[in-house]
Symmetry: C2
Subunit: 345 residues, 2 copies
């Protein structure tokens, strides 16, 4: 059951940080992040999609569309629809839009932002540049990796809304930034670990969405728990192969940010990527499955880009190949999975 609870404590207790923090986005994960931040920040600057959303939050104290049970104390929020107003006011900016919409907002950025920390909570490929957020920010906005961070980890927004204990990983190369970010995100219901693997965390968060579509397809086709376990154990090995090829670093893919995030997405009924796959497995066309969902399934867009990268690098990733074939080449899910079963072990 969902707890109805206002973050009323936040006005009385001393905020843990004096830093000004902002969030871009008004979907479910953006809303969950604002909920995490009001635990620690006096004011959270929240840049939402449009005036309707802004007005609705200011009127009702909750997001009108996502995580509607999360009630905010409006004294803790500074709402805007202007990215420049939000970024100018902040030391740390958390980007939390769906990946396909990020450039719509970022294209409007024209204020000074050289000394800000940009934290990506986006788990997808930016279509405009066909690349991950870290490279998009670096190449298009000259935001160096030292001013960037990635938050990852098994963290369904719906459970954050309910204040169910969740773990985040903050990846950043600067020790000093790492401490700041641990401070602003840690709370009674959020535990935060530090990592230096920005690209690995970003790619793993993207890959897991594709694998979750695959787990959903298996479920929709009628495969059972035994098969799903084999599928996921092959998926984490494909993830490791991909990450090593993209960016070699000392990493253990069994840490929560990698395996944990894959598990929560592949096994949870909250996962929109898994649900998309499930519909496809049940026989929906890819197009109608996408249309029937009112949330963006990041894995769909990512599958194309990741497949191309894997091909360029000559990687052998049977699960990624199979999902790409089903999503983009109109191949029959049932037949493709029958072939895939022979390649797993």
């Amino acid at each position: 059951m969902t707890k109805k609870k206002t973050n009323s404590d936040s006005t009385s207790k001393k905020p843990k940080t004096e830093l000004a923090v902002g969030v871009l986005g008004s979907g479910s994960f953006a809303t969950a992040i604002v909920k995490m931040l009001v635990e620690n920040c006096k004011t959270v600057h929240w840049c939402v999609r449009n005036e309707f959303v802004k007005g609705a939050i200011e009127l009702r104290g909750h997001n009108p569309t996502y995580l509607t049970a999360v009630n905010f104390n409006l004294k803790n929020l500074k709402l805007t629809t202007d990215i420049n107003e939000m970024v100018s006011a902040c030391d740390i900016v958390v980007l939390a839009t769906p990946s396909i919409y990020l450039s719509d907002s970022m294209d409007k950025l024209n204020c000074e932002y050289g000394d800000k920390i940009f934290v990506s909570a986006i788990k997808g490929i930016i279509p405009k540049v066909n690349n991950v957020v870290a490279h998009y920010l670096k190449d298009e906005f000259k935001i160096g990796f030292r001013n960037q961070a990635v938050i990852a980890g098994p963290c369904h927004a719906e459970e954050v809304a309910m204040e169910r204990l969740s773990y985040l990983t903050v990846a950043t190369v600067e020790e000093e930034n790492s401490k700041k970010l641990l401070d602003i995100f840690s709370s009674d219901f959020i535990k935060v670990s530090a990592s230096k693997d920005i690209l690995g965390n970003e790619y793993s968060a993207i890959l897991k969405n594709i694998f979750a579509i695959g787990a959903g397809i298996a479920s929709g086709l009628g495969y059972g728990d035994n098969f799903t376990a084999v599928f996921v154990s092959n998926a984490i090995r494909e993830m490791e192969t991909f990450l090593e090829a993209i960016y070699e670093a000392p990493r253990d893919v069994n840490e929560s940010a990698y395996l944990g995030d894959l598990l929560v997405t592949a096994y949870s009924l909250f996962s929109r990527n898994r649900n998309l796959g499930n519909l496809i497995g049940k026989g929906y066309t890819v197009k109608s499955a996408i249309q029937s969902m009112n949330m963006v399934a990041e894995g769909y867009y990512a599958a194309d880009s990741i497949y191309q990268t894997a091909r360029e690098k000559g990687l052998k990733l049977p699960i990624i190949d199979t999902i790409y074939g089903i999503l983009y080449e109109g191949k029959n899910a049932e037949k493709q999975y029958r072939k895939l079963t022979a390649k797993l072990n």
Copy 2:
């Protein structure tokens, strides 16, 4: 839904092997194994617990208590309650009793068995010797590792009964035995991989039961999917630490026999170990939780032995320690889990 289906093909088609194969045990996994074997063997020699079970199977064509929907063609079965009759008739003997009952049967063994292959499908510690099956067979019966094998993998009996595609791993040091075992287990619904890691496979199958109790406790206490994902990602790392300390071998714990088996047990509602934990998390005493189940939860017995071994080896395994404390020292699950959450990452 459970398919009602008799293995009627088995009488008409040519069996894949001429080897004589036997199974010891009449629980759900033993029954699932007999179902796998009748696909490939002309006759399966099945040594069951007592005359009642033998008579019931001979009368009705199915096990009266477990996987009752699996109907056998009696022409494929040679039932007995005498372990010596079964072992004498066979080249390969699959041991599939609960671990606590194995020695009751094995103590009666007095026929020649030096040239037989003994395959353990048991996932637990033998109380009499406080050791795994591989060592019990070697020390007590002089059955060397070359005449042994272990079958592991994410393979819930209930799904085998439904002929849902499942993957097994056969661990054996002898190449020749490996081929024989692949032949007798592989079928349309069972895919088999080979491994040489007998002890690693046996211990991982034991450890995963303990972790599944832990996942169940978390669920019973009200922790959500985000936490479970973190829990399992820590569990597989504890498993790796333990296996490396017990027996160093080139192994990837993300293969299906290790991670896959952990996943199916920790996530599946079929898992009796997870269910035991769930009851404890909901507030049942350990004793009443055990009594309320009519199947043996192997993880309960294993937790004691594994905890002691880990202590002797000086291993730091916070999940194992926590579960041991709850199961054997009467510690409060809620408090212990609150402490545990600070140790996971």
